[in-house]
Every structure is written in C-alpha cells, then in structure tokens.
Subunit: 206 residues, 2 copies
C-alpha cells in the first residue's frame, strides 16, 4: 500500500487530500517535526532532503508536492484530478502549482525558517517581519490572476485546489486576514465542504 | 509560432535548450532585465508575475520553467524528452525539476535578490554572504543523490538536463568552484557538447 510521509501544518496536506479524492488506499505515516524526526537516519534513507511529503510506492519513494500531486492524478485517472490529455491545460495546472512551491511557499517560509538563508539573528528577525507581506503579495497575484472559480482551473476540480487550500490555510497563522482575498477565502470555504477534505481534517485532528 | 520570452542568465535558458532539442519552431523574445522590461505594462500583460521564461503559444501564454519543460516534452513527444507514459518515472523528473525551482534556485537568488525577503541592508548583506553556501548545499544533494549519469535520469536525456545545466552554470558567478561537484561538472561539460546547447549558446552570444 502507498505510504504518505506527512506532518500536520506542512504541504503534505495537499497530497493527503488528493489521495483521498482519488479514492486511493494509503497509509499515513507521521514524521514528527517536533522531535526532528525528519532528520533521523531512518527518514533520511527515505528522503535525503529531509522534507515531507514523501510517497513510498511499490516502485520506490517519490518526493516534492507538485510531483506527487501529478502522480496521484496520473495514477488514478478516473478521479479526474487533472487535464491529463491536454498538454496546454496540464501546463497551466503545473504552472499554478509551481508558483506555489517556488514562490509563495518559500515566501511564507521566511517567517519561520529564516535560518535557512541567513545566520545573523537580526537578519532572521527582519525576514520574519517582512515574510507575511511577501506571502500576501503572492496570494494577491493568485486572487487577481489565477483563481478562475469555483475551482482554481474553473469548473473542473484539480490538483491545484488542495494545494491552494493548504497554503491558504497558513494565512491566519502568519497574521494575514484571509478576508483580504475574497476569492481565495471563498475557495477555502468551498474546499472545507468537500467530503474528502472533511475526512482528512478529521483524520489529522485525532 | 511559439514565442519564448527570455533573458540571458535566467532559467529561460533551460526552456530555450529544450525547444531546440525538440526541433521546435520558435521565436526568441528578449525581455531586457537591464531596463526592467519585465515590469513594463506590455510584459505584465504577458506574465503578471513579471518573470521569464514565458511561452506564448497559439492557445495563450504559459509560465514557470518546470511547467514549460514538461509542455515542450509533451508537445514534441518524438523528441523523447521525458518518460511521458510512465507516471512513476515522470514523477521523478518532476521531483528533480521541483527541487531546482523550489529550493536550489531560491537559495541562489538570495545572493542577488535578497531585497525580496528583507528590507534591512544588513539582512540583505547577510543573505548575500550565506547564499552561495545554501546554493552549494543544494547542489551537493543533487551530486550525491539525484544525478544518475550520464544524464540526470540515467541513460535517457530528459528535460531535467537543460535545467540542471542552467542552474549549474550559475555556480562560478556565485564564487562556487564547480569542481566541488565532479559529477555535476562532468554533466555540465557533457551538455556543452550537445549540438542543441551549442546552437543556443551561440544564439545568445550574438
């Protein structure tokens, strides 16, 4: 059975939701960031990058949220989680997810993980102060340009939706009022109504 | 005809090489970062994120290097630039490219574009100092774990190769001796022998 290595509050949530939407049989394995389990020899043997999500499949371990999302969509085509037969539409899906992973997520990460990019405590503090502003600027681009509604790609729900839901869920913890982005807030609420999302959130609340 | 919006020294090089490898008919459009053309109203109408690469196709504009690389591979399947029919192998390709776009590229960007994440000049200076170390750490992970040889994915050349070539090409400008990564250095040299790469570099040197 597929194993999803995950931790609450991380982007593994997006893949977790996608697996649930796909009706996949999977086992959830918690990598406890509170005890630094992502840096244990056991987990480094699974993912040398010491990050979640990682997905252990019959053929080996896969990493990186956008890659896992596409993998789930391709492996469970009957779930219609991506426009698999349309390279242009698929590139739009990938571009959306890439914007989240390469710009918005790192922007947000400067609030809690500034030590990755600086050593001086004052520098880390300055990043921490600015991060919500950069994070919000990224979300504003999505609000204005890339969220078609009702789902990210329009009428069709896709692997972009759980990813946006996951990242939007970090706004309150970073002190950003989601109401600044009415379309994202509406999308967030709409996502919360989906049975797969409810099931996943209930699983994580245990 | 496809138009690639690009600028030398940016990640648009990877897509440029992929288009050339694919035998695509394309027009190269230079977005002059020296005059901040990426922030002009004309270019913002093409890519509201004010970044290159952007690819103008018959159906509209696509953005984000990993998405464009996959798009080129899917649109020119006869060029064999990705394992299109194997979701697991394709996820490995996507994971490699995602690691570059979400971790290694932002790490390097802290050297020249620290203002994105901090305002204090001392903080920007500290990021600038640390960036080559973080960039090198990311490349060390690739060297140790993800470059199979002779190409990234092993025997088969893929869309991972021009992307790694592009990012590895930034090492010297950031003061990092590529010889620290013998397999990456060998890959870089091997890439430089490919006719498509030579043609692209000659085009850019004009």
């Amino acid at each position: 059975m597929i194993k999803l290595y995950s931790f609450p509050g991380t982007v593994s949530l997006a893949v977790h939701i996608a697996l649930e939407e796909a009706g996949a049989a999977y086992e959830l394995v918690k990598v406890d960031f509170m005890t630094n389990a992502q840096r244990s020899p056991e987990f480094l043997a699974i993912n040398p990058k010491s990050r979640v999500p990682a997905l252990a499949t019959e053929r080996g371990v896969l990493t990186e949220a956008p890659a896992l999302l596409t993998y789930v969509a391709q492996t469970f085509p009957e779930a219609n989680l991506a426009p698999l037969d349309d390279p242009f539409a698929m590139a739009q899906v990938q571009a959306f997810n890439t914007y989240l992973c390469s710009w918005v997520h790192p922007a947000a990460a400067h609030r809690h993980r500034g030590y990755r990019w600086a050593d001086d405590p004052a520098a880390i503090a300055d990043m921490r102060r600015k991060a919500p502003e950069v994070f919000a600027d990224g979300m504003a681009v999505i609000e204005a340009e890339y969220l078609r509604g009702p789902w990210v790609m329009g009428e069709a729900y896709s692997i972009c939706d759980p990813y946006l839901f996951t990242v939007a869920g970090w706004l309150p913890r970073d002190g950003i009022d989601m109401a600044r982005f009415p379309r994202i807030a509406e999308h967030f609420a709409r996502m919360g109504e989906r049975p797969a999302v409810r099931k996943v959130l209930a699983q994580l609340a245990v």
